[in-house]
Assembly symmetry: C2
Homo-oligomer: 804 residues x 2
Amino acid sequence: MESSQSSSSRNESQKQTLSGEQERLIDAWWRAANYLSVGQIYLLDNPLLQEALRSEHVKPRLLGHWGTTPGLNFIYVHLNRIIKAHDLNMLFIAGPGHGAPGVIANTWLEGTYSEIYPEVSQDKEGLRRLFRQFSFPRGIPSHASPDTPGSIHEGGELGYSLAHAYGAAFDNPNLIVTCVVGDGEAETGPLATSWHGNKFLNPKTDGAVLPILHLNGFKIANPTVLARISANELASLLRGYGHHPIFVEGEDPRDMHQKMATALDNAIAEIHSIQKLSRDGGSNERPSWPMIVLRSPKGWTGPKIVDGHKSEGSWRSHQVPFSDMSRPEHLRILEEWMRSYRPSELFDVSGCLKAEIAALAPAGDRRMSANPHANGGALMRPLRLPEFSIYAVAVPEPGKVIAEATQVMGTFLRDVMRENERTRNFRVFGPDETASNRLQAIFQATDRTWNAAMTSEDDHLSPNGRVMEILSEHACQGWLEGYLLTGRHGLFSCYEAFIHIVDSMFNQHAKWLKTSREVPWRRPIASLNYLLTSHVWRQDHNGFSHQDPGFVDHVANKKADIVRIYFPPDANTLLCVTDHCLRSWDRINVIVAGKQPAPQWLDMNAAIQHCNQGSGIWAWASTDRGRDPDVIMACAGDVPTLETLAAVDLLRRHIPDLSIRVVNVVDLMTLVPKAQHSHGLTDEDFDALFSTDKPVIFAYHGYPSLIHRLVYKRRNHENMHVHGFMEEGSTTTPFDMVVRNRLDRFHLAADVIDRVPKLGDRVAYAKLAMNNKLSEHKRYIALHGIDMPEVRDWRWPPASQKHG
Amino acid sequence: MESSQSSSSRNESQKQTLSGEQERLIDAWWRAANYLSVGQIYLLDNPLLQEALRSEHVKPRLLGHWGTTPGLNFIYVHLNRIIKAHDLNMLFIAGPGHGAPGVIANTWLEGTYSEIYPEVSQDKEGLRRLFRQFSFPRGIPSHASPDTPGSIHEGGELGYSLAHAYGAAFDNPNLIVTCVVGDGEAETGPLATSWHGNKFLNPKTDGAVLPILHLNGFKIANPTVLARISANELASLLRGYGHHPIFVEGEDPRDMHQKMATALDNAIAEIHSIQKLSRDGGSNERPSWPMIVLRSPKGWTGPKIVDGHKSEGSWRSHQVPFSDMSRPEHLRILEEWMRSYRPSELFDVSGCLKAEIAALAPAGDRRMSANPHANGGALMRPLRLPEFSIYAVAVPEPGKVIAEATQVMGTFLRDVMRENERTRNFRVFGPDETASNRLQAIFQATDRTWNAAMTSEDDHLSPNGRVMEILSEHACQGWLEGYLLTGRHGLFSCYEAFIHIVDSMFNQHAKWLKTSREVPWRRPIASLNYLLTSHVWRQDHNGFSHQDPGFVDHVANKKADIVRIYFPPDANTLLCVTDHCLRSWDRINVIVAGKQPAPQWLDMNAAIQHCNQGSGIWAWASTDRGRDPDVIMACAGDVPTLETLAAVDLLRRHIPDLSIRVVNVVDLMTLVPKAQHSHGLTDEDFDALFSTDKPVIFAYHGYPSLIHRLVYKRRNHENMHVHGFMEEGSTTTPFDMVVRNRLDRFHLAADVIDRVPKLGDRVAYAKLAMNNKLSEHKRYIALHGIDMPEVRDWRWPPASQKHG
């Protein structure tokens, strides 16, 4: 348990990077950080061990993770040395987020913690509070979280640290993002592909990422894969990922201090040399970036043996190495362990860190715990947005003009890209689908980011590109999160079905945002914006495996003030919604919109008004002329809107005197009661749209249950009959997809007919007509493989309107 | 477009692996497969080009993927040669699932397709149907799917091919699973970590996986990362993954045939040598398994130039290289392209494949399209299951005994492991959490699978282990799917929050199961069983980032006949549910159960009866004595059940004459109407439990909206008041977690008091008591950091019951 005494294996003749005095002080900081870490995990009181340790000084429930912590502390103090030596601007990302006791200890030693939380002062009482609050009810979590100064990375689910690091480094040429990757986390898929981030990093205009792979050898109960493959295999793997690995391996602290200092000197020198070469115009080749592999014992400096079992260097030190303080033996081990750090050499009697040690910390914003990039909202500048209405599709009357909504959105995004080219704070992310999603106008303004080899046939690739495409939704999401959390803006476009790949990352980000709002010093960051397209109704190539509209259900489970869901029915509403989302902050906005040619309904003025309301009556499509309608036909989503209007057309022709009100919903959250969501309609406004007693045939883009769930508290909810995706998918025609799920015009019209009793004897005839049409459709596609012209070429307004 | 004529670069003096005749026939098969692939993408009729091609012979909508297909066809024919040469038992997994035209073409050439689908016969009419059905409405999808013979891998979302391959190889010592990994797919996280599967493969008792990384260079619109890093980096990466890469690179067909044949000879020789060494007891070292890197042009043998742009060897050939058949130039290119394969040399005039070419196919089950492992249900043997009741916790009366439910389940699983040790068809999967989830009894019967380096401190690691632990939920899920799809059994235990990581994989498997049911020749496979534990209510270490009960919401969106969701409230019900799930087939079962010490409610007889009903009245906990109750207190989940009973206790003491009925729900699907789910209660049975008019205070484990959604059509749904997770999480005590989400006994009791008007003037007093208790709780945990003894040590039955 001695942390810096044994150095038998040390070669004294070797030239040392650190002077004896430097080494002594660095070791002292490390001991201080380790001491504070153990204190946080174990102690309620007696923080300086000024009395003999008694069981009442120990927390009644011991919760925390020691195993990874001393390694993080070791890295942290060495980074501080190199920051000071080169006046570096460095951000720290701790992949092993459960090492929070270490991260927090260092922020306290640097003074940042007490500056932000004055009650956790730099004295004995502050220490007591620091220890007590950790993993304590109504205290702070046992992993890095939004209330940890200097952190942009929640220590929750593992796998995203390195993607966050790249996201933070993009467009921050003077920043070095040091990212500690735990060897447990390294086994996850998202982390395993994140190493390729270096093919998307421009040494000229982006910052550097310095990965430190921390091999402490064990997960909860297992060894880790990367710690148990041969040294050759590991080096080969990391070189294959495009890195130059520098190994720091051992356990003797003095020896390790020297090795780590040398390694960091070399790594920083390589980074500077790469950047200089590239920025002086010397090379366009992708460099081999340095990285460090730190192999150190799990629970390093912790008790060697507990209860007869090996603890340091074993999976047994993953969490709390021992508990049950009713056993005097345990109390003794704890006290010896903590005293092995020699606290009286580190803190004065009042609990203040000794000046010579405190002097190791960088000054002001150079402290990693105070790096402004970790509070990105404080750096964020609003985007310069062109006036979106100039991209409007001219819609002289509803339904006559055909346009591709996302293509129009692309022209707006192109100019957003141009307007913010100088500040370099906007990027678009997607898994190789930007053009497939018809946003190709963006490529008039910028390229796809690419820093690997290129050929003459490549399309819009460049190291300077601002469109980030890799076939990994995880990487796209992780990069975007890192980019946003450091104060920039972005949009993620994705096939609707496959956005489920990042369900869990969405969760973590939503939780980060919710918690951040309760942390007063965190400034709001730009919203995370999703465009979900190539959606369930138009997967003509791809079939059932590409058909899932359930991401919005997942989103709707999160806190109402964090999430927004939009279904713009055409191009102009999509423009309006996009502009709104790009201006918002601290939210997750989901926009679902199609990319296929489709009728346009609203001119720009009408679109703005409709989007501002969030949902509203489309009088031009209704036949109720302001009277009480017989039925309300509601719709949300582009395809359901089209089918609803086609159904209105059918009904108009078959039952001319039926009074129909059409309601379109753009902002799904308007359906939720006002008390639960700020976008929710008041009950009066809701009833004015949906009535209190009329049947509502609601054509919805996704799973019907979401609508039922949102309107559950509304007066007329018993009368809501929702058509949506019934999990009936296949490779088929667009119209056949809606037929299979009973979302098509014929099924909608038939449902209306069923629900309006006063229709009397015309019911039978009209229903028969609908059924005939459905049979005709089936025969037609079986024969021709395409939709019958009647549905494919259908246009609003119906002829009958003229004299309707 | 010539496929086998140019061979300028060929070194004739070099020793050739293939004789000239072999090469000629292999090339002929390849041309036939390519011809059939193009035919499927393009043609409606004129399948043998016996007339000049006219536009009416071409499909009106062209949907499919050409780019990857010729490479797959090339691989397939070469695999056939090596299968025949060594009588190999080989399963084929096509990661690039959109290469289905190729996969299907080969299954037709092998005869399997026509055996299974006689209408798609091996003649001209069969060819016409083969072409027409592809990506045609009511035909077959454009990617490999359950109706593709020989396939266990849906060509939908990318990333899971290699994990599926390992899953298939486990415990199949004589099987070689050849897995083509596309260079697009290789960028995904799940695939990037799947390479490490070789650290979990035992050369003695498992089969071999032969990965073929197919570098065709492009995704939809971008180059691929692995195709654009240096040859050195790529080789280094693959060696780092533990493989010996064999490179096959070029585009001249004759040259490539020789190279591929040599590469496969070498790869199979290495596999056999590794297996022999290991099986003869010669080596326990992890071998470096061979793999092949095939670098060939995208859209190989397709048109070189279309509309003035490069097509073969470019991203432009990713899907359909050209369409718009109204342009005569396009029709000409298509005809030339197809004729370049010289169909008249391949098929006789009746459309039958020429005998000398057909003879290349392996016989019977050796055909990859007929490999029995690809129809795993046909091989599946039911598990031998010990009588689960012998593991029962003795529960002489409800609430007195404390046990850890998952620990008890572990003893059952231990013996399931033992009973099936001989047949080696059961494994347990989890991300390093088997012991953390308290299933450690399993380690009495087996170890953790591990084939990397070991040390003396390692806990239950062995190459023979049957517990698969890697810190990748993706790998666990992928392995398990591959294992199930090849006819075996398994269980995946996972922290509840992090199972969202595989939301999207769950989707794909659910869709596979749904579609498989419509494919008559596919036999049912064992169900995919999840145990979700370390659940939202007991994340005492981990806090908000580990708190999410939404996976079941995601599951509930899928087709009712595929999914089951269970909330056993104690150990005996968990045993009963586990036994049921392990006996079921073609389903996805989700079991949510806690691992913490908790009161036991039902003895085994009662547990069996309760689980058989799925939900039922707990008369022993109710105070209504069979009369009409004032209120119904329903619960689903272990923690909600505990809080409900504690609330009953409180109400009993404060309002002794209140008549309460307690209903516990184990099988969530009983709430759904019978018409929608086979487990659903009839309306009569539902009303008998929940009444038609009484208030129901429903304490539910997850998000309340799911309950509302399931009971939406029930008569009494307006009276359901659901308490559940309100997305209020933190690192805190167990009881504080339920308080924050109003799921605790005091909030439940208060809600009952609010809903039962007849209580009159006792309301105020009882409500005050509940509020006082909540305040007391808050003060207590702030001071002590643990829950107050009154809630921590609370036990049923309440004293008042004795004279109640």
